[in-house]
Amino acid sequence: MPVIARTLDEALESIADGAMLAVPRESSGVPMAATRALIRRGVKNLHLVALPTSTLQADLLIGAGCIATLETSAVSLGEFGQAPRFTAAILGGTIRMLDATCPALHAQFQAAEKGVPFMPLRGLIGSDVLAHRLDWKVVDNPFGDNDPIVLLPALKPDVALFHAPLADRFGNVFVGTQRELIAMAHAAAKTIVTAEKLHDGDLLRDPVLAAGSLPGFYVEAIAVEPRGAWPLPLPDHYGIDAAHMTEYARLAATAEGFAEYLDTYVYEKRAA
């Protein structure tokens, strides 16, 4: 049974060092409060899978030394420029990078969701993304004639972690149109959610809310974290904190500046 955790740290307990952790793209509800809590806890050697891209979250986790392997299709700060800690880590060779492409990651999560070992996908052939992925295979389409096609292995994360607008005491989580969060939860062994607020009643009893909800039996733990995506946006709730992102981009440009950022915005809770 899913648990409304008493604290954020309690909800995150089952994210162990070395875990394969799946997180969503910036516009889908990035669990930034949880990310800061994981950094404070000193989580190590994560295999972070960002479905299908990441921005501040991956950059922060990389800079804080939490990541061993990063698997995603792109990391940048969007309008705020390159992701400085990601770029430094790649150039410095300090993380293992598995370059993907967005629909391949979606297909790999869908394979896990369906309990099949692989999913076919068009495209990819002749791309160096494929050339560098020894875990992806090209086969001849058995329904075609001299028709090569890529097969992608199922990707089954240990934990999916995301931030959502609403959750209820039964563990149901409203995600709206951000349905890759549902696929992510289906694919993952465990799902941990931070939610803007707790919904009184049962989300699944309302036929309209139910249509945008993840059922509670997929959910391991929920922590209520108002503005839990800050400084990133939560669709239909709040926008990105542009001033903060500008400051982050400025500070994270150097290792020293990044350390200052961590002290100010991540570790401050420890000092408080």
Binding site: S27, P103, L124, G126, D147
Partner: protein, 256 residues
């Protein structure tokens, strides 16, 4: 006849792209715009305004201008179904065969520079019929003889499933068309204030060109008005910094 107004590079490029969308209008029902693509977003919304509401325009990351309800996967599924007619891609490097590089410069395992990553290019470049390439910076650094990493190739062997691919490349200096059969670019027009010689000097790859290369038409006053007054506020939702810098407008405060 009215005197041409002054305009910014971004406005010219958006107009050029809008006309490229228009050129294929008969088959264009749905134009999708991916991440980090403010100029194509401007162009697509402009095309929709000029078309009286068609084609459909889906802007990745937009709340107001997207018709997707099945999560981040739907754009790709939709393209796989053949329902996305136009898409836009860029590249840290683009070469003369239409290969694009969104990953890194130098050896992949020991790169000299790193870009964000391939996004959906390694799929969409194959399945969307009309992919318009855009790269504002037209230099030998960006338009190279051969990309260091192929995020997505400009062409594929005949037996590879590939209904889609590049149709054109728009830069701050000129417009190239892409000849899929020959896998080469052909200079279509140079933008006002630029020259063929300058294009030759700043392009790292070989390309075809007619004897007389036309000048890219400037955006009409009406187009500029539409772009600045109607389209710009829409663009600001997804690209507030761009809208501020180019059009001088602030995004509305997001609803809370």
């Amino acid at each position: 006849m009215r005197v041409t107004e002054s305009f910014r590079d971004e406005e010219l490029l958006a107009d050029v792209i809008c006309r490229l969308i228009g050129d294929v209008r008969q088959n264009v029902r749905h134009v999708a715009v991916g991440a980090a693509s403010p100029i194509p977003a401007t162009a697509a919304l402009l095309a929709r305004e000029k078309g009286g509401g068609t084609p459909y325009v889906s802007l990745l990351g937009s709340r107001d201008h997207t018709f997707f309800t099945d999560g981040a996967r739907e754009l790709f599924d939709c393209a796989g179904q053949g329902r996305i007619d136009v898409f836009f891609l860029s590249g840290g490097q683009i070469d003369g065969a239409g290969n694009i590089n969104l990953v890194s410069v130098g050896d992949y395992d020991h790169p000299k520079a790193r870009f964000p990553g391939s996004f959906g290019s390694a799929y969409l470049y194959y399945v969307v019929p009309k992919v318009i390439l855009f790269r504002v910076e037209h230099s030998r650094r960006t338009l190279v003889p051969k990309v260091d990493f192929i995020s997505a190739p400009g062409g594929s062997p005949d037996n590879v499933f590939r209904p889609g691919g590049p149709v054109a490349l728009v830069t701050n200096r000129c417009l190239f068309n892409f000849d899929r059969a020959r896998r080469r670019f052909r200079l279509k027009s140079v933008h006002p204030g630029h020259s063929v010689e300058e294009v030759l000097d700043n392009t790292g790859f070989d390309f075809d060109r007619p004897d007389d290369v036309p000048v890219t038409p400037a955006p009409s006053a009406n187009t500029l008005l539409l772009m600045r007054s109607v389209v710009a506020p829409m663009v600001a939702e997804v690209y507030p910094q761009f809208a501020k810098n180019v059009f001088g407008i602030e995004a509305a405060v997001p609803s809370s």
